[in-house]
């Protein structure tokens, strides 16, 4: 197998004495989807926020393509081609799709002003690929449906050549059809060689979409398993009991 895209080594982070993430190591390969499972407060979002730059880890090391990476803020993460798709947080509701897509990385004209025309043209192109039915280019994203909002967020990641994608419950607010759309997108991105961390509560979805699943409990890593080798019951047992299934425990 190829070299890992991301290696999280011995990551720890504490909030006022509470160890939110306790010496966790995890890796991610190109073209692979790794699901992160666990109860609320298990530490999966916190762990992943160290990678996306939203939190600073207290200890441990992050390697990207085998090289040490210093990630202290979201800008650093972006510089390493890490993009994050949050369930709710990531869009400015009052701005339109193209303003959101380019937020923080606006295209500018020769005068240094933002080039709305070019940004809208690019947005139309990428949305035409990801979600051809999308037409509301001038509406604030608050006027879009959950699926449309999610497709704007995914378009942002795809447009900027993400190599590592972090998805935090990308389908939590979506209807069945829209969930299917996101699932197809994930398969498509996988084929293009991206590595994806998928945080989810739904073990069925993880089994369907992911190659491997990492289960966390109380800030510690319970185990990493290949989803083909376990049942959903095994995964549930890991989440609830915090133990690896017996046939893999050896």
């Amino acid at each position: 197998m190829a070299a890992p895209l991301v290696e999280l080594k011995d990551i720890s982070i504490a909030f006022g004495g509470v160890k939110a993430v306790d010496h966790v190591s995890l890796d991610l390969y190109p073209g692979e989807v790794v699901g992160l499972l666990g109860h609320n407060g298990a530490g999966k979002s916190t762990l992943i926020k160290c990678l996306s730059g939203a939190y600073r880890k207290d200890a441990g090391e992050i390697l990207i393509n085998g090289k040490h990476a210093e990630i202290n803020n979201p800008r650093d993460a972006r510089a390493h081609n890490i993009e994050t798709i949050y369930q709710t947080l990531a869009l400015a509701d009052n701005l339109d799709a193209s303003a959101n897509l380019f937020l923080g990385r606006e295209l500018t004209t020769a005068f240094g002003t933002v080039d709305d025309g070019r940004m809208e043209a690019e947005t139309r192109k990428i949305m035409g690929r990801l979600n051809p039915n999308f037409q509301k280019f001038h509406a604030p994203v608050s006027a879009l449906s959950g699926g449309q909002r999610q497709s704007v967020a995914i378009a942002r990641a795809v447009y900027f050549n993400a190599k590592i994608l972090i998805m935090d419950e990308p389908t939590a607010a979506l209807g069945p059809q829209e969930t299917q759309m996101v699932a197809e997108l994930i398969q498509e991105l996988k084929r293009e060689g991206l590595g994806i961390f998928l945080i989810d509560h739904d073990v069925h979805q993880v089994k369907e979409l992911c190659d491997r699943a990492a289960v966390m409990k109380n800030g510690q890593l319970v185990g990493v398993v290949k989803v083909d080798e376990v049942s959903t019951d095994d995964l549930l047992a890991m989440i609830i009991a915090g133990k690896k299934p017996e046939h893999l425990a050896a």
């Binding site: 939203a54 979201p74 869009l91 701005l95 959101n100 923080g104 002003t113 025309g117 070019r118």
Partner: protein
């Protein structure tokens, strides 16, 4: 933004207004302003809409309107600035002391030296930027709520000004400095027309270029007749405003005081007119610059993004702390500009200059459609808001409404304006 959602694929019934693609909200505000003017015009037997009163109205509005443009950015990012009136007072105190005492005594520049007003202006703008930036630092980096920082600022800067001047009225101010006050400095008929024509041409070219950009990207554009209609309306508004200001003739006795300024041989039958005041020109420049910042720069994009969703802005790599410092520094600069106009209009720095301006400025921004929940607001809205407030106040004064009733009406209008705005948003489906 919200009212331009009509997609090209839906050629269904489009109303006249949506074909023109004009902001219905802007139309609503202009409509409200026009109604206020017409009502007062009737109540005052036609004295309200005279060139003279329109001239006075515009110079009275400038100071508050300049600051209100900055308040838009503050409120859009979910902050508030209660210190603008006090900050204005400190800036005018600094500027008054600089030009009447510090510069003449410490540098030996004599009163009336041509450098004095410009050094003064520079010092004033710097003072505003530093104080504003410092308040922004406390808000952005130290996480003290803006309400508290600027409430403290209101008490501090009002009284810093008092301390600096010992509570005295400082003046007379420099002759050149006074040109920013309004009636003391105007462009005159000829240059007013030149500026008006240039502005009209710039507006027309700007609108046509925007259309060309759209066409070059293959986006849908409105029909040519609609484009022409909008451009025509804009040009008519600009030139109409200039025509009104140019028809406010200078009284003969004023001409007699300074024949050269008005280009007259003798005071009688000279027909000199004031034209556009420098202060109004300053407001227009501020409005254009602030609108460009809001709509065409990354700074403006980040301001609105932060207002719409601070977390998203932060996660997109925007330094929201530094952004807060920049916004409050900008407001500080605008307070200094407002202070230049206010003190030049009075001719002095007085101890109570700018008192309660913070409330007028906030009210102007809010009447102009800036939402306290953040993310929404326009520069032109704030300026129209300031105009509506000033029209109400001077209109009621002209009609002879007693002072307490004046404030009751203004307070009522403020609440009503926000209520209408909320209803409009509900109706139009916007946030």
């Amino acid at each position: 933004m919200s009212d331009q959602t009509a997609a090209p694929a839906q050629p269904q019934r489009r109303s006249f207004l949506s074909t023109l693609e004009v902001d219905t909200r802007l139309l609503g505000m202009i409509g409200a302003f026009v109604i206020v003017c017409l009502v007062f015009n009737v109540l005052t037997d036609g004295r309200f809409l005279t060139p003279r009163n329109i001239f006075n109205l515009s110079i009275q509005t400038v100071s508050v309107a300049i600051m209100a443009t900055g308040m838009v950015f503050v409120i859009v990012t979910r902050h508030i600035d209660l210190s603008v009136g006090a900050l204005l007072a400190t800036c005018t105190a600094v500027m008054a002391m600089t030009q009447t005492q510090i510069l003449p005594q410490m540098t030996g520049l004599e009163i009336g030296h041509p450098m004095i007003p410009w050094i003064t202006v520079l010092v004033g703008l710097l003072t505003g930027a530093l104080i504003g930036g410092f308040q922004g630092y406390l808000i952005g980096y130290q996480m003290i709520p803006a309400f508290i920082v600027t409430l403290g600022g209101l008490l501090i800067w009002r009284n810093v000004a008092w301390h600096m001047t010992d509570g005295q009225t400082i003046g007379p101010l420099d002759e050149t400095f006074l040109l920013f006050g309004g009636i003391n400095g105007t462009l005159g008929v000829f240059w007013s027309w030149i500026v008006g024509l240039a502005a009209a041409a710039a507006a027309a070219v700007g609108l046509l270029m925007a259309r060309r950009t759209k066409v070059s990207h293959g986006f849908p554009v409105k029909p040519m007749w609609a484009e022409v209609a909008v451009i025509g309306a804009v040009i008519a508004a600009i030139l109409g405003f200039v025509a009104v200001l140019n028809s406010y003739t200078v009284p003969d006795r004023v001409v007699a005081r300074d024949l050269a300024r008005w280009g007259c041989e003798m005071a009688e039958n000279c027909n000199a007119a004031y034209g556009i005041p420098y202060s109004v020109l300053l407001l227009i420049v501020v409005a254009v610059v602030m609108t460009v910042i809001a709509q065409r720069t990354r700074l403006g994009r980040y301001i609105f993004a932060t207002g719409g969703n601070p977390d998203a802005a932060e996660l997109s790599g925007i330094n929201t702390k530094m952004l807060t410092v920049k916004i409050f520094a900008m407001v500080g600069v605008l307070c200094a500009l407002g202070g230049i106009v206010a003190s030049a209009r009075l001719g002095y720095h007085t101890n109570d200059i700018g008192t309660l301006d913070e409330l007028r400025v906030i009210a102007a921004a809010v009447i102009g459609g800036t939402a306290l929940s953040g993310g929404v607001g326009t520069i032109y809205g704030a300026i129209i808001g300031a105009l509506i407030m000033q029209s109400l106040q001077s209109g009621m004064a002209m009609v002879g409404v007693d002072a307490p009733y004046q404030n009751i009406v203004v307070g009522f209008v403020l609440v009503l304006a926000v209520w209408i705005d909320i209803q409009y948003r509900k109706f139009s489906g916007a946030k």
